[in-house]
């Protein structure tokens, strides 16, 4: 795989579309075990991201990622704002100065993003957060042999697995055992982000 500046922009445009389409769904996931704003938060943030990316010219992947990160940080709020902000800020730092990235570089970017969000959220896998989806995706990239369908499958499975977990981080943790049986909203939005990435990969063929 190989991504250029246009691909990266396409990634976030597609992510935005998917998040807008799933705004109500993400919010509904956040109602039984949270405060019912995850879709609203993410939609507000990604809307702004798409706007920002369309306004400016970019020659550098890292600059795009930084724009995404700062926009999410300033617009999403809640827990997901700083977490998604951290994710893309870390990727931006790792991919500094590049106008094109290959699989290896992208994998390194994802690894650093995961490490960053774990540190920021003081979360590990199995705590029923978006970390679960990012961890699965990082491991998939690390294994090599990356396909669009494979990526979607891995992300979807990771998202579904959060359903049976007991939350120990974020608002859902207040519900302890009762948090079981509900998909984690942040995992669902992260799934959409990777589904968007897979769409871009597919289009490149």
């Amino acid at each position: 795989m190989e991504f250029n500046v246009a691909d990266m922009i396409e990634w976030f445009n597609k992510a935005n579309e998917k998040i807008q389409e799933n705004k109500a769904y993400l919010t509904s996931l956040d109602q039984p075990i949270g405060d019912g704003d995850h879709g609203i938060n993410m939609a507000r943030g990604f809307q702004e991201v798409a706007g920002k990316l369309s306004e400016n010219d970019y020659t550098d992947i890292s600059a795009i990622l930084k724009e995404v990160a700062m926009t999410l940080l300033a617009k999403v709020g809640g827990a997901s704002g700083p977490l998604y902000g951290t994710v893309f800020l870390k990727m931006s730092m790792t991919l500094k100065g590049r106008d094109v990235v290959d699989g290896t570089a992208f994998t390194k970017g994802l690894e650093d993003a995961l490490a960053g969000v774990k540190q920021r959220g003081k979360a590990e896998t199995g705590e029923k957060t978006l970390v679960d989806v990012w961890q699965a995706v990082v491991e998939y990239f690390q294994a090599g042999n990356i396909t669009a369908d494979g990526l979607v499958e891995v992300a979807a499975r990771a998202k579904e697995r959060t359903k049976d977990m007991v939350a120990t981080k974020g608002r859902a943790a207040y519900f302890k055992e009762k948090s079981k049986g509900h998909i984690d909203p942040g995992s669902a939005s992260s799934y959409l982000v990777f589904e968007a990435l897979a769409d871009v990969m597919k289009e490149k063929h």
Binding site: G78, T168, R171
Partner: protein, 329 residues
């Protein structure tokens, strides 16, 4: 959804403008932000006190901006913690050279956003300290999880740390007294009805006509236990007993009976009657009682009971003058 609003996506902006218009001598808006600061901020050589969080908890937090209480409040979207840039603006607006102290309610979002703002401020050479309030005994206390939520007890932190800062105390001293309050305040809430976030348009959970939720938070989230509606005495007892179990309140306390938004004050006083009886029975003496809406959850019907164990320092600071419109002594 029945609300007196203009645009569901503009409620926070409209509210902030309406708030500043109501109290122009006390507070001002930091231009281009949703930060409300004391009109005379920054006060030089005074520790600046900043709090905030999602909106929808009015009068928290902006109603507590004023001399002797908060220097600034950051107003996030409804029930959504404000972003680091906004918190950073608040920190800059109140930094009078003696450092800035952050009062954060313990929610992942609030903690993360305020922490990132603190990092930004420190990078610019502003000294920042913080306290994380976690008074809600409905939630189990565990260092392996998110821990307990911050709810109505936070207002005592604002009042007491605010009075300390106003007295000219150092950042360390403000932090010490804020931690003392956090260590000695416990709360628990319940609700009869959910509430509706304007941008969502739907209640986040449903309750039958004979049901109530015990152990409710202040973000429209479901409670910890759903039961049949009980009498005011039984409710007051359940909340107070849980609070008392969690901490040694022997001696003197301050009591707060807080309405969540739609509960008539009459009902809060009915709850207060029983709470005072329970405390009297246990030989706990009440120094001061607060009954009203201090930390709400939009139009949720319900209440919370908070107890704060007092010592001489806390009593003096609790009694100190306050210019905040929502907390006059």
């Amino acid at each position: 959804m029945k609300k007196i609003i203009n645009d569901p996506n503009q409620v926070v902006q409209d509210m902030v403008d309406g708030l500043v218009a109501a109290f122009p001598k006390t507070m001002k808006k930091v231009e281009g932000t949703l930060v409300i600061a004391r009109s005379d901020a920054p006060v030089s050589n005074k520790v600046g006190l900043v709090s905030g969080g999602g909106s929808g908890h009015e009068p928290a937090h902006a109603g507590y901006v004023g001399k002797g209480m908060l220097d600034a409040a950051v107003c996030g979207e409804v029930f959504t913690s404000p972003t680091p840039d906004q918190v950073f603006e608040a920190i800059k607006a109140v930094d009078g050279g003696a450092g800035v102290f952050l009062v954060i309610k313990n929610y992942t979002g609030d903690v993360l956003n305020f922490e990132m703002a603190a990092e930004l401020a420190e990078a610019e050479g502003i000294q920042v300290e913080k306290v994380v309030v976690n008074d809600d005994v409905a939630v189990e206390d565990s260092s392996f999880t998110t821990g307990r939520r911050g709810i109505a007890g936070t207002v005592f932190v604002h009042k007491i740390a605010g009075a300390k800062a106003e007295s000219g105390a150092s950042l360390e001293e403000v932090k010490a007294v804020a931690e003392k309050v956090v260590g000695n305040v416990r709360s628990m809430g319940m609700a009869l009805t959910p509430c509706i976030v304007p941008a969502a348009g739907e209640p986040s959970f449903k309750l039958d006509n004979d049901e109530m939720e015990i152990g409710i938070g202040i973000h429209g989230e479901p409670g910890i236990n759903r039961t049949q509606i009980d009498s005011a005495d039984a409710i007051a007892t359940a909340l107070t007993e849980k609070v008392l179990e969690d901490h040694d309140f022997s001696g003197e306390v301050a009591v707060m009976i807080n309405g969540l938004g739609a509960t008539p004050e009459m009902e809060l006083f009915i709850v207060n009657k029983k709470v005072q009886e329970i405390l009297a029975d246990k030989g706990i003496s009440v120094y001061k009682t607060f009954v009203g809406e201090y930390m709400t959850s939009l139009e949720m019907a319900g209440c919370s009971v908070s107890l704060l164990k007092l010592d001489d320092e806390l009593k003096e600071l609790l009694d100190a003058e306050s210019g905040a419109p929502a907390f006059r002594m």
